[in-house]
Point group: C2
Amino acid sequence: MILTVTLNTALDITYRVRGLKPHASHRVTGVLERPGGKGLNVARVLAALGHEVTATGFAGGATGDVVRELLAATEGLHDALVPLGTGATRRTIAVVDDVTGDTTQLNEPGPAVTPTEWAAFQRRYDDLLPSADAVALCGSLPPGVPVNAYAGLIRTARAAGVPVLLDTSGEPLRRAVAARPDIVKPNADELAELTGSHEPLGAVQDARRRGAHAVVASLGAEGLLAHTPEGRWRAAPPASLHGNPTGAGDAAMAGLLSALVENLPWPDRLTRAAALSAASVLSPVAGEFDRGTYEELLGRVKVTGEVSAA
Amino acid sequence: MILTVTLNTALDITYRVRGLKPHASHRVTGVLERPGGKGLNVARVLAALGHEVTATGFAGGATGDVVRELLAATEGLHDALVPLGTGATRRTIAVVDDVTGDTTQLNEPGPAVTPTEWAAFQRRYDDLLPSADAVALCGSLPPGVPVNAYAGLIRTARAAGVPVLLDTSGEPLRRAVAARPDIVKPNADELAELTGSHEPLGAVQDARRRGAHAVVASLGAEGLLAHTPEGRWRAAPPASLHGNPTGAGDAAMAGLLSALVENLPWPDRLTRAAALSAASVLSPVAGEFDRGTYEELLGRVKVTGEVSAA
């Protein structure tokens, strides 16, 4: 199975309103609730692709209960979340303006995690690792979880011989890269924040020098840029799709993980990641994708690059 | 005890953000959760004043569970809410901008109530009425509850000899006024919508002609305007207080109810209502008030008017 770690799970709520105006009162015309947090988005895409996935991390409070109920309804997804004693899973609210099409995002801070809860999670992670074909560490850290958390989880996974994919930002990313994860998937902003360079080619090389074995940068409409021990590639869908970009990076992560555990070569991994990422843009919520578009794009993603000299 | 009816209860969530900008992403710096819906605000103010209150209406889903947990922690308040089978209590989100002080409101639609649930509520209401010294019917109707719901509840209460106070709007208000409630408490907009007149004095008289025994209009900073069989009065706090006007009308309702069951004369009822209304503006959430301000204002509210000729 594939193990996904979401330390800061969320209940993602999408509201539709007709014209968002600050200082006004709005009648919400549509409400959607989904399990959220990057790792749970990745897990849901993997489950939809037919993989067995185990989702761990933290869940708490009434919002955590709703997240777990929604996960229970997802075929192929095993819930191994660790309960919080008093903290509640955060909500994120995406307010979609039906007039302009714009989305305004309101993100609650995460719950405070106690040292006892963090220790309980680490035991759960250690128990799950031996059955994992790959592990994905995704998203922000809630308050109380040490900033070097991902670095420790990467070392444990590498010691167990389990490939680790990482998608986070800021200081947790900086610390984790030094622990030598197998693949890091930053977006353009995260890459620039890590390396200080806004030039993706140089920044990707810098991220590898900092410890990542492979770096796959997701550059929005420009697709993916990958530097790996096996070679360097760019993968891009035939055209930019208009829609909801939230979750596109998570869909790309799911594509990379899925193709990795199937032992596909890098160009095929990138094709799958780019096709899933583009197809997820057509879905109104993160963690889902348009299957017809995905299958059609698999044959149309263009991968260019070169294999490294042996 | 005092009975409050809230057919469309809510989980009121208050977010603090630094500068709300449409189409941007915002980190929420503070989250407050409170039981919501006008009737629950009234019930909480009554309980804080030391009255025994029973709150009925509907609650459902995970949000309903949170509302009930919060009510359970309120001394003097008895939870007699009727559970919904599948519908969930709506959320309301007040986004307070710490830069401008403005509040932007997002209100979910209410849950769909089935005919069976509506019948269960009516039985609960009939069971509770004999123990009630007064009943307050407050707020909007969720989908599925008939538009003449309040009219029926008023007739039942009047047949049982229990005084009825009403605070709603639109068509439910129009229908309910004809059923001859004891007191109706519209705000300026609701009064204008009911009567077609934006001139409060004439509109209040019109509302009485439509069936209300007494009308107490809440006119924001201008205080209260009351036309009753016993006389006509205006009650105003000494100065307009700056703060959160949400819930000011509910605090006024609680003041009227509280003084009614204590058999106080109209000028004292209006003093209490105006003082509570003004003191609630200093509270960041509806259903709560600043006790020091309330007690101080009790001696400073100015009531002017005349007793009717016998």
